[in-house]
Amino acid sequence: MKITIGAVTRGGTSRAYKTGNWRDRRPVIDTGKCKCCDICREVCPDSSVYVQAGVYTINYDFCKGCGLCAHECPAGCIRMIPEEK
């Protein structure tokens, strides 16, 4: 693909790079215990927690497995499990 003049890149193109394959562990949300406080979504450095039909969900394409969501969850409903390769 031709380089752009001034090496300019379109915004939002980072989504093509799936940082999910960095993980060695992954978060799992127990949605039954989830209080929908939104803290996990707020603290994720990689915007990898989202709400789908009212349910808090992990975007495993980008989640790097840092564990911040699990650590910060006040309901303790997120646990980190080893990533299966």
Partner: protein, 396 residues
């Protein structure tokens, strides 16, 4: 019908810049360019020039303000000299790589150490690797005219590089000349508003200044060289277009002065060209076949045009008002690289003249011609530069 005014060279430049309607001017003083930015400040303060005037705290910031303004889609300008240009160097390299057009005046002054405010070309020549287009002018009139062209050249969609107009400090900036001025209507007709395709646009957000790996970096560099090579064709076109408006033709990338049938051709740039033209006339009157190639555009380096002009000469003598320590004068190096080994091309001698403002007058030029003739007759062509009028008695 053009107005004519007797103005200081600095004022002529300020008038040209004003005519080009920059949005943003950044200013940090350094002798001998300061009169230019002071003149622009007066114009802004009196409401004659509608521009954002940013008095920065260093030349690094002066050039950086231009980068930001250009990226945001505005025409921008600054001026500097000597140490200030060196301080701008990192910024100008980056702006060239990012293809951010802007115009600056490089008012020539030598570089520390030792500190001096005298003139030579070491400062602007030091930027020759950066991707900044460089013009050198002989007179205030030429300075005025080339500044008008500079913005159009910088902003050309096939170029998009910083353009530096180099003019000798004091000699041109602080002397008074009769300068013909172009009307605002004619400038507006020649130079349209700056409308870049790439700019920081909230409707279409882009990321500018990415990190590049080895799979793309060489091509990114090469694209700047491509822009320079395209400039070799486009710059003379823009100069011609302006000439049709002004009625003044200073030449293209070079001016060949009395080179027809010349056995010795001198090569030089800047205000010394005026002195050399007088010397050439005198030598021609005395029967010597001498000519001058005045380099107007130094980067991109117009070796094809120079070669055409010197093709039939016996010898070429370059006057360099600069020196690359450990090697030789920069213009000499550039020219030797292109002529050496080319079939039928004349040999090139390099003369260092005028460093730190040491006088280059018609007598110096005659002696350079004599040294060149001596090389031809002896068949011995020195490879080291010859430093004119060096005083060995005071060397340590």
């Amino acid at each position: 019908m053009q107005a004519e005014s007797v103005v200081e060279g600095s004022e002529a430049v300020a008038l040209a810049v004003k005519g080009c309607r920059p949005h943003v001017i950044s200013a940090f003083p350094i002798s001998p360019q300061t009169h230019i930015v002071e003149a622009l400040a007066r114009m802004v303060a009196n409401g004659e020039l509608d521009a954002a005037y940013v008095p920065v705290e260093s030349e690094f910031s002066a050039a950086s303000v231009l980068a930001g303004a250009s990226a945001a889609g505005s025409r921008s300008y600054t001026a500097s000299s000597s140490q200030g240009l060196l301080l701008m160097t990192e910024v100008l390299y980056a702006s060239a790589g990012l293809r951010l057009p802007c115009v600056l005046t490089g008012v020539n002054r030598s570089i520390s150490a030792p500190i001096t405010i005298q003139v030579d070309h070491q400062d602007t020549v030091s930027l020759r690797d950066s991707g900044v287009i460089q013009f050198y002018v002989e007179s205030s009139q030429e300075a005025y005219d080339v500044h008008l062209a500079a913005f159009k050249i910088a902003e050309d969609p096939g170029i998009l590089l910083p353009v530096m107009v180099c003019m000798d400090g004091w000699i041109l900036t602080h002397s008074y000349e009769r300068v013909k001025l172009v009307s605002q209507e004619e400038i507006d007709g020649f130079l349209p508003k700056f409308r870049p395709e790439n700019f920081l646009d909230i409707e279409n957000p882009k990321t500018w200044g990415s990190y590049a790996e080895e799979d793309v970096l060489m091509e990114m560099r090469y694209s700047v060289q491509q822009a320079m090579q395209y400039g070799k064709r486009r710059i003379p076109e823009i100069f011609s277009e302006l000439s049709r408006i002004t009625g003044r033709d200073h030449g293209g990338l070079i001016e060949a002065y009395r080179t027809e049938g010349a056995a010795v051709v001198l090569v030089a740039m800047g205000s010394v060209a005026g002195t050399i033209k007088d010397a050439v006339d005198r030598l021609r009157d005395a029967g010597k076949k001498v000519g001058l190639v005045k380099i107007r555009c130094y980067r991109p380096f117009p070796h094809e045009d120079i070669r055409n002009a010197v093709q039939d000469a016996r010898i070429v003598a370059v006057l360099d008002a600069n020196f690359s320590m450990g090697s030789e004068g920069a213009v000499g190096l550039d020219l030797k690289a292109k002529l050496c080994g080319q079939p039928g091309a004349p040999p090139v001698l390099d003369f260092i003249a005028g460093l730190g403002g040491r006088e280059v007058n018609a007598d110096v030029v005659s002696r350079i011609v004599a040294l060149a003739e001596q090389a031809v007759s002896s068949g011995s062509y020195p490879t080291e530069s010859h430093w004119m009028d060096l005083n060995p008695a005071i060397l340590p």
